[in-house]
Amino acid sequence: MNERVADISKIPTGIEGFDFLASGGLPVGRTTLVSGTAGSAKTVFAVQFLAEGIRKFDQPGVFLTFEETPGDIRLNMASLGWDIAAFEKAGKWLFVDAAPQPGEESVVTGTYDLGALLARIEHAVTRISAQRVAVDSLGAIFTQFADANLVRGELFRIGSALKQMGVTAVMTAERTEEYGEISRYGVEEFVTDNVIILRNVLESQKRRRTMEILKFRGTLHHKGEYPFTVMPGEGIIAIPLAAIQLKQKSSYVRISSGTTELDRMCGGGFFRDSIILVSGATGCGKTLLTTEFIGGGATQGERCLLFAFEESRDQLFRNASGWGKDFAAMEDAGLLQVISVYPETASLEDHLISMKSAIQTFKPNRVAVDSLSALERVSTSKGFREFVIGLTSFIKHQEVGGMFTATTPGLMGGESVTEAHISTITDSIILLRYVEMFGEMRCGLTVLKMRGSMHDKEIREFTIDGHGMHIHQPFRNVTGILSGQPRHVTRDEVERMGGMFQED
């Protein structure tokens, strides 16, 4: 098996994330079928395969189009950052235009073949010494010629000619359903070696793009569907979430939460590369805890990056100054960057990619996301979970500390949907809760979980003033805070309960 795997070498496509999924790229000298429904970014894939080949590996490519005219393709792909005309001028890109000619009638009489097309492809490949060929899309040729059997036979001939020329090819084909037969007209029957499926599924009114390598004959690849997105100026970016390995390093170095008392509750602070989830109802201090976390970093000269999805920059700065933290000064010192966007402005995949690139550019020591629950609005639950896994593992690989906040739906307690999805991924969980006592709302805080460390298990009261957060004594005579039904018990009863577990 291993020998056989080694036999088939791969050619990197240059499509970000895809080469990882494909364990290196597309099999060299073979044809890969890229199948998908309308609008599933097949043409983008085909164009990107050639464009990145030219840009990153200096491999010239031939683009055979059956559908759109070369003019349309040049125009449409310019927005994704590929200057096809410049590639053509440099002699690296050649179009073979087999798109239907508008306003031109043709009559068919007697037998024919597609020999001319094959001759043109061979001519183009030789002319620029092409190493890559893209064919877009196979279904369109079937609409130009009535005899489907003949076309199928001729495409098979073209496929084997491509193999003989030694080029690596991508052919796109249409599908009618997201989960059905591989392609229309059964074209997969003649490009059987490798099949990739692009999907654009509508799920709870949201579009979710995924790609799946269905088969790579005789070579390894990652299996299953992986989300991807199409970004302006970048093209397709695949997100190999489920393929991420749990191999990040882990550190014993503690970092300050920004509040001395909380550090003490956590046994000396958070671990440097851990992910902390702060969960609580609206208004009970999540943003405050985030601000403390950032303040704690900045006072030690650490760089902090804050992604805000609920409040604007100005609001955050005002809030922070109300708690005695000067965000503007931190920003001037180059220790803080605040990125404030509405979750609805992009899909979750796009958010993930722009967040990753922001982290890579700013190189922070601490990352805070306020709040994850806001991001959950724009995605399906599966997409959200993948987003959180992707973000967490990326942050951990950078060996930075992360703090995420999640909003619980009920005021008094219960757990949020966000929490249920991600609690196992995070290293520490801090719960913030409202506690009703004698007609007054107070705030409680507890460290629910902290991996790899002892921590305080009490529910403590905290107050907020112009200097930030202050953590006080535990609520001694209240039970049921976490379940959202606080109940007072008398001092006698507390002592009696304590006594029950004491050994004489």
Partner: protein, 103 residues
């Protein structure tokens, strides 16, 4: 009668190609009254010409003149269809039908 300018694209000297060339010669002599100019291009020798004319299938006959430009794909074995493609009436009766449908 207007002069016909015709180009026939073929791929190699296959029986299909030869059949198409022979059929075209016959039609030109019989039905175009000798008023024609004809080129036969082998795409294997001149792939760039095929590229410029965007030829996909062979044999393909292109009628450049008189306008409009027309393409006829196949080995030209059906004379009536070829003449129709060249905007010529194959028979008297056929012309009658066309005239009727136009009015």
């Amino acid at each position: 009668m207007n002069k016909f300018v015709l180009t026939l694209y073929i791929t190699g000297q296959t029986p299909k190609s030869q059949r198409a060339v022979a059929n075209l010669h016959r039609i030109c002599e019989d039905d175009l009254g000798g008023q024609y100019e004809m080129r036969v291009i082998d795409v294997l020798d001149h792939p760039q010409l095929a590229e410029d004319d965007k030829i996909i299938a062979t044999p393909t006959l292109i009628k450049e003149l008189p306008p409009p430009l027309r393409r006829i794909i196949g080995d030209l074995s059906n004379t009536e269809k070829v003449l129709l493609g060249l905007d010529l009436q194959p028979t008297e009766g056929f012309q009658g039908i066309v005239v009727e449908s136009k009015t």
